[in-house]
Protein backbone atom coordinates (compact mmCIF):
# COMPACT_ATOMS: atom_id res chain seq x y z
CA UNK A 1 0.00 0.00 0.00
CA UNK A 2 1.08 3.52 -0.70
CA UNK A 3 -0.36 6.43 1.15
CA UNK A 4 -0.04 10.11 1.77
CA UNK A 5 -1.50 12.12 4.60
CA UNK A 6 -3.23 15.45 4.44
CA UNK A 7 -3.32 17.83 7.39
CA UNK A 8 -6.87 18.17 8.71
CA UNK A 9 -6.18 21.08 11.05
CA UNK A 10 -6.07 23.81 8.42
CA UNK A 11 -8.40 24.50 5.56
CA UNK A 12 -7.17 24.10 2.02
CA UNK A 13 -7.15 21.95 -1.05
CA UNK A 14 -4.63 19.16 -1.61
CA UNK A 15 -4.34 17.42 -4.93
CA UNK A 16 -2.75 13.99 -4.92
CA UNK A 17 -1.91 12.17 -8.11
CA UNK A 18 -0.85 8.57 -8.30
CA UNK A 19 0.63 7.41 -11.57
CA UNK A 20 1.92 4.08 -12.72
CA UNK A 21 2.85 4.08 -16.35
CA UNK A 22 -0.23 5.01 -18.28
CA UNK A 23 -2.47 4.32 -15.29
CA UNK A 24 -3.30 7.18 -12.95
CA UNK A 25 -5.74 8.57 -10.39
CA UNK A 26 -6.12 12.05 -9.00
CA UNK A 27 -7.86 12.84 -5.76
CA UNK A 28 -8.56 16.28 -4.36
CA UNK A 29 -9.06 16.64 -0.65
CA UNK A 30 -10.87 19.75 0.51
CA UNK A 31 -10.35 20.35 4.20
CA UNK A 32 -13.20 22.74 4.89
CA UNK A 33 -14.59 24.67 7.79
CA UNK A 34 -18.33 25.14 7.47
CA UNK A 35 -20.08 27.00 10.26
CA UNK A 36 -23.50 27.90 11.49
CA UNK A 37 -23.91 30.89 13.71
CA UNK A 38 -27.13 31.80 15.42
CA UNK A 39 -27.62 35.24 16.89
CA UNK A 40 -30.51 36.78 18.78
CA UNK A 41 -31.22 40.33 19.83
CA UNK A 42 -33.81 40.06 22.56
CA UNK A 43 -35.15 43.56 21.88
CA UNK A 44 -35.98 46.15 24.47
CA UNK A 45 -38.95 48.05 25.67
CA UNK A 46 -37.10 51.30 25.89
CA UNK A 47 -36.06 53.35 24.01
CA UNK A 48 -38.61 52.52 21.31
CA UNK A 49 -37.38 51.26 17.95
CA UNK A 50 -36.17 47.77 18.83
CA UNK A 51 -39.35 46.47 20.38
CA UNK A 52 -39.34 43.38 18.22
CA UNK A 53 -35.81 42.23 18.63
CA UNK A 54 -34.43 39.89 15.96
CA UNK A 55 -32.95 36.47 15.41
CA UNK A 56 -30.73 35.60 12.48
CA UNK A 57 -28.19 33.13 11.23
CA UNK A 58 -24.84 32.99 9.47
CA UNK A 59 -23.96 30.13 7.12
CA UNK A 60 -20.34 30.17 5.99
CA UNK A 61 -17.52 28.10 4.57
CA UNK A 62 -13.85 28.90 4.07
CA UNK A 63 -12.88 30.51 0.80
CA UNK A 64 -10.98 27.56 -0.68
CA UNK A 65 -13.92 25.25 -0.18
CA UNK A 66 -16.55 27.76 -1.26
CA UNK A 67 -15.49 26.92 -4.77
CA UNK A 68 -17.22 23.58 -4.29
CA UNK A 69 -20.47 25.51 -4.21
CA UNK A 70 -19.58 28.27 -6.64
CA UNK A 71 -18.35 25.86 -9.34
CA UNK A 72 -20.57 22.93 -8.54
CA UNK A 73 -21.76 21.09 -11.65
CA UNK A 74 -25.29 21.23 -10.26
CA UNK A 75 -26.74 24.67 -11.02
CA UNK A 76 -29.09 24.37 -8.05
CA UNK A 77 -26.04 24.01 -5.77
CA UNK A 78 -24.29 26.92 -7.48
CA UNK A 79 -27.33 29.03 -6.80
CA UNK A 80 -26.86 28.53 -3.06
CA UNK A 81 -23.90 30.91 -3.12
CA UNK A 82 -26.45 33.73 -2.87
CA UNK A 83 -27.39 32.54 0.61
CA UNK A 84 -23.96 32.17 2.10
CA UNK A 85 -23.45 34.72 4.83
CA UNK A 86 -25.63 36.53 7.31
CA UNK A 87 -29.37 36.46 6.75
CA UNK A 88 -32.74 36.57 8.47
CA UNK A 89 -36.44 36.03 7.86
CA UNK A 90 -38.37 39.19 7.28
CA UNK A 91 -41.84 40.38 6.23
CA UNK A 92 -42.01 42.16 2.94
CA UNK A 93 -43.87 45.07 4.53
CA UNK A 94 -44.05 46.81 7.90
CA UNK A 95 -45.64 44.23 10.14
CA UNK A 96 -48.37 44.57 12.70
CA UNK A 97 -48.20 42.44 15.76
CA UNK A 98 -51.05 40.14 14.76
CA UNK A 99 -50.65 40.35 11.01
CA UNK A 100 -49.35 37.88 8.43
CA UNK A 101 -47.28 38.99 5.47
CA UNK A 102 -45.38 37.49 2.59
CA UNK A 103 -41.89 36.78 3.90
CA UNK A 104 -38.43 36.72 2.37
CA UNK A 105 -34.83 36.13 3.31
CA UNK A 106 -32.90 39.34 3.71
CA UNK A 107 -29.10 39.18 3.80
CA UNK A 108 -27.33 40.98 6.59
CA UNK A 109 -28.11 41.60 10.25
CA UNK A 110 -29.76 44.97 9.73
CA UNK A 111 -27.51 46.41 12.39
CA UNK A 112 -28.90 44.35 15.22
CA UNK A 113 -26.55 43.82 18.09
CA UNK A 114 -26.80 40.23 19.38
CA UNK A 115 -27.49 39.62 23.02
CA UNK A 116 -26.90 35.93 22.54
CA UNK A 117 -24.68 34.10 20.03
CA UNK A 118 -23.35 30.67 19.36
CA UNK A 119 -21.55 28.97 16.50
CA UNK A 120 -21.05 25.39 15.45
CA UNK A 121 -18.87 23.59 12.95
CA UNK A 122 -21.18 21.70 10.66
CA UNK A 123 -20.74 19.11 7.94
CA UNK A 124 -20.50 20.19 4.34
CA UNK A 125 -23.67 18.35 3.50
CA UNK A 126 -25.40 19.99 6.46
CA UNK A 127 -24.33 23.36 5.12
CA UNK A 128 -25.83 22.47 1.77
CA UNK A 129 -29.02 21.29 3.46
CA UNK A 130 -29.28 24.52 5.43
CA UNK A 131 -28.63 26.64 2.37
CA UNK A 132 -31.25 24.68 0.44
CA UNK A 133 -33.68 25.29 3.29
CA UNK A 134 -32.92 29.00 3.22
CA UNK A 135 -33.35 29.16 -0.52
CA UNK A 136 -36.66 27.35 -0.33
CA UNK A 137 -37.74 29.66 2.46
CA UNK A 138 -36.90 32.64 0.33
CA UNK A 139 -38.53 31.45 -2.84
CA UNK A 140 -41.50 29.41 -1.73
CA UNK A 141 -43.77 32.37 -0.89
CA UNK A 142 -43.94 31.58 2.80
CA UNK A 143 -45.87 33.79 5.18
CA UNK A 144 -44.15 35.78 7.89
CA UNK A 145 -46.12 35.94 11.10
CA UNK A 146 -44.99 37.48 14.35
CA UNK A 147 -47.06 34.89 16.19
CA UNK A 148 -46.25 31.67 14.40
CA UNK A 149 -43.49 32.12 11.82
CA UNK A 150 -41.24 34.94 12.80
CA UNK A 151 -37.50 35.46 12.44
CA UNK A 152 -36.70 33.39 15.54
CA UNK A 153 -38.79 30.48 14.28
CA UNK A 154 -36.81 30.46 11.07
CA UNK A 155 -33.43 30.96 12.72
CA UNK A 156 -34.19 27.87 14.81
CA UNK A 157 -35.35 25.94 11.75
CA UNK A 158 -32.27 26.91 9.74
CA UNK A 159 -30.26 25.59 12.65
CA UNK A 160 -32.19 22.33 12.56
CA UNK A 161 -31.62 22.07 8.80
CA UNK A 162 -27.91 22.33 9.58
CA UNK A 163 -28.21 19.63 12.20
CA UNK A 164 -28.19 21.91 15.24
CA UNK A 165 -31.00 21.69 17.77
CA UNK A 166 -31.73 24.70 19.94
CA UNK A 167 -35.11 25.80 21.29
CA UNK A 168 -38.52 24.51 20.30
CA UNK A 169 -39.77 26.50 17.32
CA UNK A 170 -43.33 25.31 17.91
CA UNK A 171 -43.84 27.77 20.69
CA UNK A 172 -46.09 30.63 19.69
CA UNK A 173 -44.66 33.08 19.59
CA UNK A 174 -41.01 32.05 19.58
CA UNK A 175 -39.27 35.08 20.98
CA UNK A 176 -35.75 36.35 20.26
CA UNK A 177 -35.24 36.65 23.98
CA UNK A 178 -35.93 32.95 24.37
CA UNK A 179 -33.32 32.07 21.78
CA UNK A 180 -30.91 34.63 23.19
CA UNK A 181 -31.21 33.07 26.62
CA UNK A 182 -30.65 29.59 25.21
CA UNK A 183 -27.63 30.70 23.20
CA UNK A 184 -26.09 32.30 26.25
CA UNK A 185 -26.76 29.24 28.31
CA UNK A 186 -25.15 26.78 25.87
Amino acid sequence: MLFRTVDRTTTGVTTITCTCGSSWKTTKIYVYEAKLELHADEGEWWPPGNFWGHSWWVLSIDGASAILIALNPDPDIRGLMDYLGTAGWWPKEEPKLWGSYPGFVMMGDQNHIPTGSEDWRILFNSLISALQYVKALDTSGGIWSAWSNNCTDQAVLVGEAAGVETIDADDNPTLPSELSDWLNAH
Partner: protein, 325 residues
Protein backbone atom coordinates in the same frame (compact mmCIF):
# COMPACT_ATOMS: atom_id res chain seq x y z
CA UNK B 1 96.59 -0.30 -62.43
CA UNK B 2 96.53 0.10 -58.60
CA UNK B 3 92.97 -1.37 -58.45
CA UNK B 4 93.98 -4.51 -60.32
CA UNK B 5 96.86 -5.24 -57.86
CA UNK B 6 94.57 -5.02 -54.78
CA UNK B 7 91.93 -7.34 -56.28
CA UNK B 8 94.52 -9.98 -57.06
CA UNK B 9 95.85 -9.95 -53.50
CA UNK B 10 92.38 -10.40 -51.99
CA UNK B 11 91.69 -13.34 -54.28
CA UNK B 12 94.88 -15.12 -53.18
CA UNK B 13 94.06 -14.73 -49.47
CA UNK B 14 90.57 -16.10 -49.95
CA UNK B 15 91.87 -19.12 -51.79
CA UNK B 16 94.31 -19.94 -49.03
CA UNK B 17 91.59 -19.79 -46.37
CA UNK B 18 89.43 -22.25 -48.25
CA UNK B 19 92.14 -24.78 -48.38
CA UNK B 20 92.69 -24.41 -44.59
CA UNK B 21 95.40 -26.98 -44.33
CA UNK B 22 97.00 -27.77 -40.99
CA UNK B 23 100.21 -26.68 -42.37
CA UNK B 24 98.65 -23.34 -42.90
CA UNK B 25 97.46 -23.20 -39.18
CA UNK B 26 93.58 -23.66 -38.83
CA UNK B 27 92.11 -23.48 -35.19
CA UNK B 28 91.22 -26.87 -33.54
CA UNK B 29 87.54 -27.94 -32.92
CA UNK B 30 86.22 -27.20 -29.36
CA UNK B 31 86.16 -30.26 -26.96
CA UNK B 32 82.81 -32.11 -26.57
CA UNK B 33 81.74 -32.22 -22.85
CA UNK B 34 80.96 -35.61 -21.30
CA UNK B 35 77.19 -36.45 -20.96
CA UNK B 36 75.68 -34.89 -17.78
CA UNK B 37 72.97 -37.56 -17.26
CA UNK B 38 74.49 -40.71 -18.69
CA UNK B 39 71.92 -42.74 -20.55
CA UNK B 40 69.51 -39.80 -20.73
CA UNK B 41 66.29 -39.24 -18.73
CA UNK B 42 62.71 -40.46 -19.07
CA UNK B 43 60.04 -38.61 -21.02
CA UNK B 44 58.69 -37.08 -17.78
CA UNK B 45 62.11 -36.11 -16.51
CA UNK B 46 64.67 -33.45 -17.18
CA UNK B 47 68.31 -32.94 -16.24
CA UNK B 48 68.88 -29.66 -14.54
CA UNK B 49 71.90 -30.62 -12.34
CA UNK B 50 73.34 -33.67 -14.02
CA UNK B 51 70.65 -35.83 -12.47
CA UNK B 52 67.22 -36.78 -13.80
CA UNK B 53 64.38 -35.11 -11.99
CA UNK B 54 60.64 -35.37 -12.44
CA UNK B 55 59.06 -32.52 -14.37
CA UNK B 56 57.29 -29.80 -12.45
CA UNK B 57 53.86 -29.48 -13.95
CA UNK B 58 51.08 -26.94 -14.09
CA UNK B 59 47.43 -27.81 -14.44
CA UNK B 60 44.44 -25.57 -14.76
CA UNK B 61 40.92 -25.43 -16.09
CA UNK B 62 40.44 -24.18 -19.56
CA UNK B 63 37.70 -21.94 -18.16
CA UNK B 64 37.56 -19.98 -14.92
CA UNK B 65 34.32 -21.61 -13.90
CA UNK B 66 31.92 -24.15 -15.22
CA UNK B 67 28.39 -25.26 -14.80
CA UNK B 68 26.72 -28.41 -13.68
CA UNK B 69 26.63 -31.19 -16.29
CA UNK B 70 28.63 -29.18 -18.82
CA UNK B 71 31.98 -30.61 -19.91
CA UNK B 72 35.06 -28.99 -18.40
CA UNK B 73 38.45 -29.18 -20.06
CA UNK B 74 41.62 -29.22 -17.97
CA UNK B 75 45.03 -28.72 -19.46
CA UNK B 76 48.66 -28.93 -18.39
CA UNK B 77 52.10 -28.10 -19.70
CA UNK B 78 53.13 -31.74 -19.82
CA UNK B 79 54.90 -32.65 -23.06
CA UNK B 80 53.21 -35.18 -25.25
CA UNK B 81 55.77 -38.05 -24.82
CA UNK B 82 55.36 -37.81 -21.07
CA UNK B 83 51.59 -37.75 -21.37
CA UNK B 84 51.69 -41.09 -23.13
CA UNK B 85 53.62 -42.59 -20.26
CA UNK B 86 50.47 -42.63 -18.13
CA UNK B 87 49.81 -39.22 -16.66
CA UNK B 88 46.93 -39.62 -14.23
CA UNK B 89 44.08 -37.16 -13.68
CA UNK B 90 41.80 -37.39 -10.65
CA UNK B 91 38.87 -35.38 -9.27
CA UNK B 92 37.53 -34.57 -5.82
CA UNK B 93 34.62 -34.68 -5.30
CA UNK B 94 34.34 -37.23 -8.02
CA UNK B 95 33.47 -35.97 -11.45
CA UNK B 96 32.10 -37.94 -14.34
CA UNK B 97 34.53 -39.51 -15.14
CA UNK B 98 36.23 -39.38 -11.78
CA UNK B 99 39.67 -40.03 -13.23
CA UNK B 100 41.48 -40.49 -16.49
CA UNK B 101 44.78 -40.71 -18.24
CA UNK B 102 46.33 -38.06 -20.34
CA UNK B 103 45.53 -37.78 -23.96
CA UNK B 104 47.69 -35.88 -26.31
CA UNK B 105 45.44 -35.20 -29.21
CA UNK B 106 44.85 -31.65 -28.02
CA UNK B 107 47.67 -31.56 -25.53
CA UNK B 108 47.85 -33.44 -22.31
CA UNK B 109 44.29 -32.64 -21.25
CA UNK B 110 41.41 -34.13 -19.31
CA UNK B 111 37.64 -33.67 -19.73
CA UNK B 112 35.06 -34.33 -17.06
CA UNK B 113 31.84 -32.94 -15.63
CA UNK B 114 30.03 -32.76 -12.32
CA UNK B 115 26.37 -33.31 -11.57
CA UNK B 116 26.27 -31.06 -8.52
CA UNK B 117 27.48 -27.52 -7.93
CA UNK B 118 30.43 -26.64 -5.73
CA UNK B 119 34.16 -26.13 -5.71
CA UNK B 120 35.93 -29.08 -7.34
CA UNK B 121 39.57 -30.09 -7.28
CA UNK B 122 41.40 -31.69 -10.18
CA UNK B 123 44.86 -33.20 -9.75
CA UNK B 124 47.29 -34.33 -12.40
CA UNK B 125 50.05 -36.75 -11.38
CA UNK B 126 53.04 -37.78 -13.43
CA UNK B 127 54.34 -41.37 -13.29
CA UNK B 128 57.50 -40.10 -11.73
CA UNK B 129 55.56 -38.51 -8.87
CA UNK B 130 55.13 -34.80 -9.57
CA UNK B 131 51.62 -33.53 -9.30
CA UNK B 132 49.63 -30.32 -9.53
CA UNK B 133 46.11 -29.44 -8.48
CA UNK B 134 43.63 -26.78 -9.44
CA UNK B 135 40.23 -25.74 -8.13
CA UNK B 136 37.27 -24.80 -10.22
CA UNK B 137 33.78 -23.59 -9.27
CA UNK B 138 30.92 -25.50 -10.80
CA UNK B 139 27.64 -23.58 -10.59
CA UNK B 140 24.06 -23.68 -11.69
CA UNK B 141 21.23 -21.17 -11.81
CA UNK B 142 20.11 -20.73 -8.25
CA UNK B 143 17.71 -17.81 -8.36
CA UNK B 144 16.52 -14.97 -10.54
CA UNK B 145 16.53 -11.45 -9.14
CA UNK B 146 16.16 -7.91 -10.35
CA UNK B 147 19.68 -6.95 -11.33
CA UNK B 148 21.51 -4.92 -8.79
CA UNK B 149 19.33 -6.24 -5.98
CA UNK B 150 18.57 -9.44 -4.16
CA UNK B 151 14.84 -9.04 -4.82
CA UNK B 152 13.51 -12.41 -5.92
CA UNK B 153 10.09 -10.94 -6.64
CA UNK B 154 7.35 -10.54 -7.15
CA UNK B 155 8.56 -7.37 -8.76
CA UNK B 156 5.98 -4.66 -9.26
CA UNK B 157 6.31 -2.52 -12.33
CA UNK B 158 4.11 -0.09 -14.13
CA UNK B 159 2.61 -0.85 -17.52
CA UNK B 160 4.95 -0.38 -20.48
CA UNK B 161 8.01 -0.21 -18.31
CA UNK B 162 10.91 -2.64 -18.29
CA UNK B 163 13.06 -4.44 -15.78
CA UNK B 164 16.46 -6.14 -16.11
CA UNK B 165 16.64 -9.58 -14.54
CA UNK B 166 19.71 -11.49 -13.50
CA UNK B 167 20.29 -15.20 -12.99
CA UNK B 168 22.38 -15.71 -9.89
CA UNK B 169 24.69 -18.74 -9.86
CA UNK B 170 25.24 -20.96 -6.88
CA UNK B 171 27.81 -21.11 -5.56
CA UNK B 172 28.53 -17.50 -6.45
CA UNK B 173 31.41 -16.94 -8.80
CA UNK B 174 33.21 -13.82 -9.82
CA UNK B 175 34.62 -15.46 -12.90
CA UNK B 176 34.48 -13.18 -15.92
CA UNK B 177 31.64 -14.47 -17.99
CA UNK B 178 33.80 -14.46 -21.07
CA UNK B 179 35.88 -17.19 -19.43
CA UNK B 180 32.92 -19.40 -18.73
CA UNK B 181 32.12 -22.03 -21.37
CA UNK B 182 29.48 -21.02 -23.84
CA UNK B 183 27.68 -24.22 -22.92
CA UNK B 184 26.91 -22.50 -19.63
CA UNK B 185 24.88 -19.73 -21.23
CA UNK B 186 21.54 -19.17 -19.54
CA UNK B 187 18.36 -20.07 -21.35
CA UNK B 188 15.71 -17.38 -20.72
CA UNK B 189 12.04 -17.85 -21.40
CA UNK B 190 8.65 -16.35 -20.55
CA UNK B 191 6.65 -19.07 -18.84
CA UNK B 192 3.36 -17.21 -18.56
CA UNK B 193 1.91 -13.78 -19.25
CA UNK B 194 -1.45 -12.01 -19.17
CA UNK B 195 -3.81 -12.80 -21.99
CA UNK B 196 -3.29 -10.60 -24.99
CA UNK B 197 0.03 -9.23 -23.84
CA UNK B 198 3.11 -9.12 -26.03
CA UNK B 199 6.14 -8.76 -23.78
CA UNK B 200 9.74 -8.80 -24.97
CA UNK B 201 12.55 -10.72 -23.32
CA UNK B 202 16.04 -9.77 -24.49
CA UNK B 203 18.89 -11.89 -23.12
CA UNK B 204 22.24 -10.22 -22.67
CA UNK B 205 20.76 -6.81 -23.43
CA UNK B 206 23.99 -4.84 -23.23
CA UNK B 207 26.44 -7.28 -24.79
CA UNK B 208 29.44 -7.12 -24.76
CA UNK B 209 29.37 -4.78 -21.80
CA UNK B 210 27.01 -6.90 -19.80
CA UNK B 211 27.00 -10.48 -18.68
CA UNK B 212 24.85 -12.97 -20.52
CA UNK B 213 23.26 -13.90 -17.25
CA UNK B 214 20.96 -10.91 -17.62
CA UNK B 215 17.83 -10.33 -19.61
CA UNK B 216 15.57 -7.34 -20.08
CA UNK B 217 11.82 -7.84 -19.80
CA UNK B 218 9.97 -5.02 -21.49
CA UNK B 219 6.76 -4.02 -23.22
CA UNK B 220 4.58 -5.13 -20.33
CA UNK B 221 1.48 -3.86 -22.03
CA UNK B 222 -1.12 -5.61 -19.88
CA UNK B 223 -1.53 -5.65 -16.16
CA UNK B 224 -0.95 -8.98 -14.51
CA UNK B 225 1.80 -11.50 -13.86
CA UNK B 226 4.71 -12.19 -16.18
CA UNK B 227 6.67 -15.26 -15.10
CA UNK B 228 10.22 -15.44 -16.44
CA UNK B 229 12.43 -18.52 -16.22
CA UNK B 230 16.23 -18.78 -16.34
CA UNK B 231 17.72 -22.22 -16.76
CA UNK B 232 21.22 -23.60 -16.85
CA UNK B 233 21.82 -24.87 -20.34
CA UNK B 234 23.38 -28.23 -19.51
CA UNK B 235 21.42 -29.44 -16.51
CA UNK B 236 18.24 -27.44 -16.82
CA UNK B 237 18.37 -26.31 -13.20
CA UNK B 238 16.25 -23.21 -13.15
CA UNK B 239 14.42 -20.57 -11.20
CA UNK B 240 11.57 -18.26 -12.04
CA UNK B 241 10.64 -14.74 -11.05
CA UNK B 242 7.25 -13.10 -11.23
CA UNK B 243 7.04 -9.59 -12.56
CA UNK B 244 3.66 -8.02 -11.95
CA UNK B 245 2.51 -5.07 -14.00
CA UNK B 246 0.13 -3.08 -11.85
CA UNK B 247 -2.30 -0.28 -12.40
CA UNK B 248 -3.66 2.26 -9.98
CA UNK B 249 -6.97 0.81 -8.96
CA UNK B 250 -8.01 3.54 -6.54
CA UNK B 251 -6.77 6.54 -4.61
CA UNK B 252 -9.12 7.04 -1.70
CA UNK B 253 -9.08 8.89 1.61
CA UNK B 254 -10.02 7.27 4.88
CA UNK B 255 -12.34 10.12 5.78
CA UNK B 256 -14.57 12.61 4.06
CA UNK B 257 -17.42 12.57 1.63
CA UNK B 258 -17.08 12.30 -2.11
CA UNK B 259 -18.58 15.12 -4.06
CA UNK B 260 -19.33 15.43 -7.72
CA UNK B 261 -16.41 17.22 -9.35
CA UNK B 262 -18.40 17.52 -12.54
CA UNK B 263 -15.80 16.21 -14.99
CA UNK B 264 -17.29 12.73 -15.42
CA UNK B 265 -13.73 11.36 -15.32
CA UNK B 266 -13.47 8.20 -13.22
CA UNK B 267 -9.78 8.90 -12.70
CA UNK B 268 -10.44 12.09 -10.77
CA UNK B 269 -12.33 12.35 -7.54
CA UNK B 270 -12.92 15.05 -4.95
CA UNK B 271 -13.64 14.62 -1.28
CA UNK B 272 -14.61 17.07 1.43
CA UNK B 273 -13.48 16.54 4.97
CA UNK B 274 -14.20 18.82 7.88
CA UNK B 275 -11.48 20.66 9.72
CA UNK B 276 -10.56 19.33 13.16
CA UNK B 277 -8.69 20.70 16.13
CA UNK B 278 -5.02 19.79 16.38
CA UNK B 279 -5.65 17.55 19.37
CA UNK B 280 -8.23 15.55 17.44
CA UNK B 281 -7.19 12.00 16.65
CA UNK B 282 -6.56 11.46 13.84
CA UNK B 283 -5.91 14.96 12.64
CA UNK B 284 -4.85 13.86 9.20
CA UNK B 285 -6.57 12.29 6.26
CA UNK B 286 -4.78 9.25 4.91
CA UNK B 287 -5.08 8.84 1.16
CA UNK B 288 -4.18 5.35 0.03
CA UNK B 289 -3.29 4.16 -3.44
CA UNK B 290 -4.35 0.62 -4.13
CA UNK B 291 -2.79 -1.21 -7.05
CA UNK B 292 -4.40 -3.85 -9.18
CA UNK B 293 -3.32 -6.60 -8.90
CA UNK B 294 -2.64 -6.06 -5.23
CA UNK B 295 0.74 -6.41 -3.63
CA UNK B 296 1.47 -9.86 -2.34
CA UNK B 297 4.26 -8.62 -0.17
CA UNK B 298 5.26 -5.25 1.19
CA UNK B 299 8.24 -4.48 -0.96
CA UNK B 300 7.29 -1.18 -2.48
CA UNK B 301 10.29 1.03 -2.40
CA UNK B 302 10.30 4.48 -0.96
CA UNK B 303 9.16 6.96 -3.50
CA UNK B 304 10.64 10.39 -3.81
CA UNK B 305 8.37 13.21 -2.79
CA UNK B 306 8.08 16.61 -4.28
CA UNK B 307 5.69 18.94 -2.56
CA UNK B 308 4.74 22.16 -4.21
CA UNK B 309 2.23 24.45 -2.52
CA UNK B 310 -0.83 22.38 -1.81
CA UNK B 311 -0.23 20.03 -4.69
CA UNK B 312 1.74 16.93 -3.81
CA UNK B 313 3.28 15.08 -6.67
CA UNK B 314 5.50 12.14 -6.10
CA UNK B 315 7.79 10.83 -8.77
CA UNK B 316 9.74 7.66 -8.72
CA UNK B 317 13.29 7.43 -9.84
CA UNK B 318 12.60 3.88 -10.88
CA UNK B 319 10.06 2.38 -13.14
CA UNK B 320 9.57 -0.63 -10.98
CA UNK B 321 7.40 0.97 -8.39
CA UNK B 322 4.09 2.55 -8.10
CA UNK B 323 4.47 6.27 -8.25
CA UNK B 324 2.32 8.12 -5.83
CA UNK B 325 1.77 11.82 -5.83
Amino acid sequence: MKTRVLSFGFLVLSWLSILCLPAVGCPPDPPIPPPCCPGGCGDCEWCPDCSCQCLEVYAGPYSWAGCVDCEMLFSSDIPAPCCLEGVHWSTAPAGDPAEGYGRDDIGCTFITRWHTPGVKTVTVTLPCGSSASTNVTIFWVDKVVETGTNDEGPLYVCPNSSVVLEAKPAPPTDAPWMWVPRDCDIAWSIESKPDGSNPSLTPNPDYPYDRPDKARLSNLDKRGDYVVKAASSCDGHSDTITVTAIEVASLLPDAGTEIDDGDNDPNTKSFVVGIVDPNHEPNVVTVTATPNPGFRKRTCRTAGLLQAATVIVCFSARLTELRLG
